[in-house]
Symmetry: C2
Subunit: 442 residues, 2 copies
């Protein structure tokens, strides 16, 4: 029997746990679900014979060592900054580890030791990063094998709400960490276009979004992610003239979000001194230029943005409730925290709501005869409800499948890994297809 | 004989050293000037009989302890983040310390021990912070003593170039740390106006500057400093409805600087991958929206900013050389570093150039009969040349004078201090007047 230790039973773990339990008998697995909250862990394992739910404190060294020592494979669904305590223990105790997070500098430093001890530390193995790497590399390797060349690669991904569950003008509901949505894009987006580096600072990011059409799914806004350049070496496209990675939102979202950015409401770097005693309207007022003294808050906001009061973006902002004379009721909050609290109520997935994942890769390919063609590879996944979300499915299944492949000796690479090699992406993509995670090409 | 140890002989120390040496005989002082560069220290002491110049390494614990142990008073002109090593030693060895920097959290934590051991750690004792505190508190205390009330306090300060030495459209030359000028205002400015909190994010700061008229000196742009709110408790004006602190620049500067901000050229958070092989024009190109494809770089920049190509701000930006096809020649530089290097050449004080300090306090005062009046207190100081600058004078003399007052027992307060009490500001302001640092009221 092989023991699997899953640390963290939060919202992205539903499909992951289901997969392990569904296959437990056949694969001779026992799954331990470890979470700060015992009841949460128990609710996820539901007394399955091959499961065990435990209360787990990552800072309890004795327990941490004991649980990892007893496992053959560890999956960490902890917040990204908490993986290292697990990873170090895994190398020391010679246990394999999977995460869905980006490889941090500290993680990368474990590479040599992990190699030496025959340990796989597989990261970036969820949706984005994860499925994006695998599906992109499959096409890139194929194109290269044909002797063709890729001159442009634009890749977008978004976690949205399915049209049938959409009841708000933003076309958005939270299917993962709300804080990341509020703070998205802070810093400067870096990418390359036609051989020229491009830099897009945060204050222009949402104003300068692109239009992205996904076949049979709709038209979206795409805004550039912070770092597209590091994907050139990762994908072995060091000299590619155009490389852009971005995030998808429903058409119109970016223009409206830009209102929050321009006001300064997404700032998380300081607390509003008297946030608990302010109303939302007063907070917005505090961000508006003082020289606009006449008219309603809404009309002055529209004037500040230099748009009509009846424009879509002002209506969308109004819909959030941020213009209302209602108490914020949050102590020592940053503007971003106020916005997050407000939107968490407005953008909550209801029990039966379905979320939707949309991913698009767009390649420009020049073949041996210098003929240029455009290939689009697209993925649309719709969730079942607010627990079995498309997000949980696309994040969890790649983690589950790679864990199986490592346990069964089908992934032989060791050290700090990212799923960009054929050994990993081929079996994973092929099994994902059985779960209806299928890319269509056009 | 009393020994004075001055650590750091950089550009703001000229008047400070002159003061100590001029008074050394009469006060029975010996001055040690300690700097990483022995030759710099030597050039400042010029073999004065009561001076000693030494090469000094702040990280050399033996030397640090020895020099501080031998001193009666220490002045640290080190960068702000390096004061703590000196301050801790000062408390341990029971030596007084002066700095021109803001009280850090770590500094504040030394308060109880410094009190206990009878040590004065006097901070914020230069120009801004320094003379601003002293001159403001003098008026605030006087107004309160008269039974009047202050309903508004706006205070601006700027280190500029004197009109007779101005030969550029920005009306600016560097008289202190250039890096701070490039990064000025990043974050969100917080102040209060008519009882309402106001927040002004960086991307709007320079676009929404105010017009400030200084009697007999000119009209300036004033942009809000990051934190005006903390001055309410510091000045015992906890309930004041309007409190704003800001920075002065020549009229037109802010509008032009806003072009750099909007492009993203003041960002210091990432390096431009290929900065060494780019031209300035290419860098600007990388920040311009890609959809602007026709016309000169200058005309596209003007279109991006939605202004005329012949507008003042575009001409000013062009003057800096940032639109030129010249190699940047700087490895792994952030955009802010590129801008700094460029402007350091353009905004350098020439040997005979005179700088200029302008400070303005504007109070709205309600007397016992509820009559409201406006009082403006203004300071204009012009430098002698690029060494004996107004900046060095206004930063150095308050430090020198307070050091004398501490050594002679005229400042008796102990612990972590800021010059907001009568015991400190009265004798300092009175002696500053003898050096022609005089506020005029109107």
């Amino acid at each position: 029997m092989r023991n699997i230790l899953l640390i963290g039973a939060g919202r992205s773990s539903s499909f992951l746990i289901k997969y392990f339990l569904d296959e437990a008998q056949q694969q001779d697995w026992k799954l331990t679900v470890a979470d700060v909250s015992l009841s949460l862990a128990q609710s996820k394992t539901a007394n399955h014979a091959r499961s065990r739910a435990i209360a787990f404190d990552i800072n309890n060294e004795v327990q941490r060592k004991e649980e990892i020592a007893g496992a053959d494979m560890v999956i960490s669904m902890l917040p990204a900054n908490m993986h290292m305590q697990v990873a170090k223990e895994c190398v020391e105790l010679k246990k394999h580890l999977s995460t869905a997070s980006y490889v941090s500098k500290e993680m990368q430093q474990l590479h040599v030791n992990a190699m030496k001890d025959g340990v796989a530390l597989l990261n970036e193995c969820g949706l984005d990063p994860g499925i994006d790497h695998m599906s992109a590399m499959k096409i890139i390797d194929k194109v290269k094998a044909e002797g063709s060349e890729i001159s442009s690669f634009k890749s977008y991904c978004g976690g949205l709400v399915a049209p049938e569950s959409n009841d708000n003008p933003w076309g958005y509901k939270f299917s993962w960490n709300p804080r990341n949505v509020i703070l998205a894009g802070q810093g400067t987006a870096k990418f390359i276009e036609n051989g020229k580096y491009r830099y897009l600072p945060y204050n222009r990011l949402f104003a300068e979004s692109e239009r992205v059409v996904v076949e049979g799914c709709g038209t979206f806004d795409g805004y550039a992610n912070r770092d597209s350049l590091s994907y050139r070496p990762l994908y072995h496209l060091e000299k590619i003239p155009t490389m852009l990675r971005g995030t998808l939102r429903q058409s119109g979202y970016c223009k409206a979000w830009n209102v929050f950015v321009q006001l300064g409401l997404t700032d998380d770097s300081y607390t509003v001194d008297n946030s608990a005693s302010l109303t939302y309207a007063q907070l917005v007022e505090a961000f508006l230029p003082a020289d606009q003294k006449n008219g309603s808050l809404k009309s002055r906001l529209a004037a500040f943005m230099n748009v009509n009061e009846n424009s879509e973006e002002i209506k969308m902002v109004e819909w959030t409730g941020i213009l209302e004379i209602k108490p914020i009721d949050l102590e020592r909050a940053t503007p971003a925290m106020v916005l997050q609290q407000l939107l968490e109520r407005k953008w909550m997935l209801k029990a039966d709501d379905k979320d939707m994942i949309v991913m698009q890769h767009e390649f420009e390919i020049k073949n041996r005869n210098s003929e240029v063609s455009t290939v689009r590879s697209e993925l649309v996944v719709t969730g079942e409800d607010s627990v079995f979300t498309a997000m949980a499915k696309t994040v969890g299944l790649p983690l589950a499948i790679t864990s199986k492949l490592i346990l069964n000796g089908d992934i032989k690479a060791r050290g700090v890994l990212v799923p960009v090699t054929k050994e990993i992406y081929e079996p994973v993509l092929s099994e994902l297809e059985k779960h209806n995670i299928v890319f269509s090409e056009r």
